[in-house]
Symmetry: C3
Subunit: 487 residues, 3 copies
Amino acid sequence: MARPLSFHEDRLFPSDPATRSYARGLYALVKDLPIISPHGHTDPSWFATNAPFQDATDLLLAPDHYLFRMLYSQGVSLDALKVRSKAGVPDTDPREAWRVFASHFYLFRGTPSWVWLNHVFSQVFGFTEFLEASNADDYFDRITAALATDAFRPRALFDRFNIETLATTEGPHESLQHHAAIRESGWGGHVITAYRPDAVIDFEDERSPRAFERFAETSGQDVYSWKSYLEAHRLRRQAFIDAGATSSDHGHPTAATADLSDVEAEALFNSLVKGDVTPEKAELFRAQMLTEMAKMSLDDGLVMQIHPGSHRNHNVGLLNSHGRDKGADIPMRTEYVDALKPLLTRLGNDPRLSIILFTLDETTYSRELAPLAGHYPVLKLGPSWWFHDSPEGMMRFREQVTETAGFYNTVGFNDDTRAFLSIPARHDVARRVDSAFLARMVAEHRMDLVEAEELIVDLTYNLPKKAYKLDQRPDWARPATLRAAAE
Amino acid sequence: MARPLSFHEDRLFPSDPATRSYARGLYALVKDLPIISPHGHTDPSWFATNAPFQDATDLLLAPDHYLFRMLYSQGVSLDALKVRSKAGVPDTDPREAWRVFASHFYLFRGTPSWVWLNHVFSQVFGFTEFLEASNADDYFDRITAALATDAFRPRALFDRFNIETLATTEGPHESLQHHAAIRESGWGGHVITAYRPDAVIDFEDERSPRAFERFAETSGQDVYSWKSYLEAHRLRRQAFIDAGATSSDHGHPTAATADLSDVEAEALFNSLVKGDVTPEKAELFRAQMLTEMAKMSLDDGLVMQIHPGSHRNHNVGLLNSHGRDKGADIPMRTEYVDALKPLLTRLGNDPRLSIILFTLDETTYSRELAPLAGHYPVLKLGPSWWFHDSPEGMMRFREQVTETAGFYNTVGFNDDTRAFLSIPARHDVARRVDSAFLARMVAEHRMDLVEAEELIVDLTYNLPKKAYKLDQRPDWARPATLRAAAE
Amino acid sequence: MARPLSFHEDRLFPSDPATRSYARGLYALVKDLPIISPHGHTDPSWFATNAPFQDATDLLLAPDHYLFRMLYSQGVSLDALKVRSKAGVPDTDPREAWRVFASHFYLFRGTPSWVWLNHVFSQVFGFTEFLEASNADDYFDRITAALATDAFRPRALFDRFNIETLATTEGPHESLQHHAAIRESGWGGHVITAYRPDAVIDFEDERSPRAFERFAETSGQDVYSWKSYLEAHRLRRQAFIDAGATSSDHGHPTAATADLSDVEAEALFNSLVKGDVTPEKAELFRAQMLTEMAKMSLDDGLVMQIHPGSHRNHNVGLLNSHGRDKGADIPMRTEYVDALKPLLTRLGNDPRLSIILFTLDETTYSRELAPLAGHYPVLKLGPSWWFHDSPEGMMRFREQVTETAGFYNTVGFNDDTRAFLSIPARHDVARRVDSAFLARMVAEHRMDLVEAEELIVDLTYNLPKKAYKLDQRPDWARPATLRAAAE
């Protein structure tokens, strides 16, 4: 007999009764607000085709590196979890994979995955017992059965989750066919894209040659020549904007920027295109391209997102056997003050530009990022990110950033996820942690309750809409209520 | 109708009733103790001339980079706030500037400025409504009217604020005329100076040539020759000591120290004086001068303060248009263990020397500073500084420093401010946060209440007096009570 | 009349009543569990000879650098505390030294030493008044008298402290005679060793030449030839395993690892042995030897412990007068992601290897260590260490590590101490802080109480036994209950 899954309505609120009471009141103001998800990695084909998801392992376990990295760290093989390797998807029985997961679920105690998964299990699927070995089959069967119903198809879940806007991420070398299909389908869900050009900027990425080929096709430009390479970016940015994009997204190893002359930049590009790639030149080119992207933003208005500091695919053995993105990305020490100076010297006071900074190095919150964002008009701070998208991580972000940057140089929450079913859970955690933080401010008389009430709504809804320029829906997008009424 | 300004008597105390009760009791022991302000940047001419302050904008807004940097970060122009540029003070109507400030006051939610300003508004000026757009004019008028009265002249406020000692900061190239005037005025307020020689030590500072010229005048020495350059320092240090100084103050980019031979040091100086300035040589000279200053302290007893780690005037556009110190100083990663070793190897065990270290890089609290101060007899730790002079920042300082360095290797609070009216507010915050920290220690049975009671008085009053050698007033300085009786 | 020493049963528990109640309940489950001490620095001769300890100063003060570093930082001379210098033990009256300590005991307020010492005073010696100048003699006399009794001999205390396993640390060049004596004595206390080869790996350590000589003797190998140097390690590791060792221990300046070819490694070793020592070559050799040790672990199963980041003996004057290990070790910024990559690329996925990482740089908890341990099967995280072995330090460890690495990639508590009497105090603090952390999780509904109950037992007892492979006692070791029955 498994333990009852009591997913408490006061979860994540401080235990002190006065503070908890304020937290409850603040959370009540925002718990039913629509979800703004301006930065994430869901698959647009889900919403284009609206095909049902397959089974519990295929949807929840095998693609989620948060989950399989933890199990891998404890000696569980990725094959046993049905995680795709370079040889393809292992032929592990998905039910067996789910059993392995269930019997190791205790590993997630104290992690945000515990909160997210139990939210999904209880709120999305209606389970009332904690997952464990004894009920693994019941979980697997009931989830798989639910997924076969219309109520669990992607669009139905999108509506049920009360998502107002959902951004995916694509590269300039990728087609936007699924976004076109969504737009033309008449469904009306506001699914947009974001412009992530890393693969055609990073000459050290082994995927770069193929991405350049496809970039030439999608843009119709000679992308091996500097001026038309830039023109290709301009054209694709516009195509992304036509597909709803309001932001670009840049995941570089460091925050380095540069401000080369046109002649220098062209010479650097030519050298790299010819295959003369050194780490220094690749880094300088990435740095220069952040400034080039910023210059394009002056004209087309895309908000820039910069999130540096991950050592990608650190586990060489796993990269060789399983390829990229298998939970082996490790944060590195990151520097912003010198790194951003060339770009900021060029454009830091330009009212047409908006840059959202992220970090995996929490030491920069109070030392670098809050002082920068609390001064430069072009800078804002993205929420605590990736490993730090967690109750303690979010609280540290607020505690270390707010006193210098205030709340209004931050941009609300990003779920940044490809785990579609966890989106409501992640936003719920953010709303609860922000409520808890503000509740403490009120309980300690550092803020008036009226101010906290305004702030919780701003942090949840108004700031992300404003920061990501999502204030207006395009004609083809309609609120879920209208979609529901139309059905 | 604006919201009532309820500035609660329990502000900044933890909400848990037991802890709050201890905090109240501890705070009650120190809330009326005199203010010791051993490190700050108020203008000594205020106390020398005792001329009235001008208006709300001129006193509270335009000179305060904490305030205008936040508004600037949100797109408000400095001209609209009447902040001086290189072209002079903008002719903005001060009332209009105040209105802009009032309508953006919500930006300061969650920041220490919110606490400080509401303290000033309610406790110094008696306002009972929160500042907002609707009452901006009322605020402006009442503040400006109050400032015209004798009760709001600098000396009257000094007495009302119960300041026992206030240190300003001057350079060796600057006159101490205002301090002389204060001393000779018969007023009796204990306003002293501190010796800050950065401008005649940092050959990379563009103000350095003019400072050297004036240093030659104030010292009567050939400051372009190494031996008389050092003699000029010795003479000016003594003049500062005669004007009450008990400390020197060193704001270098890094904490680097050096221990060159006399021959090496002289050669380095000669090279720099001849204009052969490279970043490496300028850095080495700053490093060597910290050791030279320490050697002079052995003889004259000045306490050294070292606070490295700020990238000054990071915003190049703003530096060009508005000059230095416009809220664009950004902290950098800072290293102490290797940097201080030359000086500590030379003098680290000398009982005649006392060095107070500050940081803008909070990661050094537990890793470097507390271990250093918990071992070396010459080292003590200054309070959380600048961006970290805030409730969360102060609490992090105590939490991260105390377990290794204890309380008695710290030196109490520094307000470090040029915002004279905020001095009581800042000291009040420090007293409250220390009370809250000690209250938690007591509530968690990690300290006896008797010990906490001794400590709160030590942290507030005894430690700063001892660390800054302020145990004795000079003959010309008299307590406020005597000054009041004399009037 | 000194204050009563009220060492409260709720110490270190949060004040919030609901949280405290959970903390009490969790702590009750583990407070009487046996102590597993898999990493420490007690002297095995104590347990081999079972000779009585001498007096309060000799046992508690003079050898404890946590204590005398704090007093030294406040100007107390080491001679006054009877701390051994290069000239020998000062002839200070031990009672006088104890009086100096007592009159400065207030310096330890807020530090873990305060908690540990008051635990020892009240729980081990039965004092009921806080130590202060007025009762210094009473403390000295009563402690010294107690130490002369059989109940305070090392083995009796070992039993009374309910220690199940205690590991000491020896070098490969050192004899294991005391461990042999313990094993053969019939006493049955499970005192084991750990393999710490730093002195024969670090060519920059001035003790290295003498250590190599002794290494040749203990191993019977030509340790100046690469292949037999490695063989000497293999032989000594096996001898340590025979003396109960389950782990090796590596205290390097950095976490650097290398993976040289055999030819490169041999050439490097030959060059160093010939005396051609540069910092770069010494560092590379240390780096390579971590990989060599890991390779040997594949065969012999020793768990590797790596704890980098201390600048040893920073105070040059004190090193000259008093020698090493006098409280002047200062942590440095430490990097793991690049540093460990060579070793992890070679062996990071090998199920035969287990590495426990420690740090003195808390910034690496959430940025580097938790992400590494939350992915690599060979990595686990040691507890907060040295300066961070403290209530706040332990809490930061849990708060910053758990969300990414979970609990099961950590290994429970290490006391890491040579202060034998403080071992129960230190483990008690860890149990209380873990109880407090878990209590908050439960009170905030982030974990089920049943899970927290399982976890507190795992963190206290099961994880260290498993991580250090202490699941089985050897034949010669018997539980304290059996030893007691036998007497």
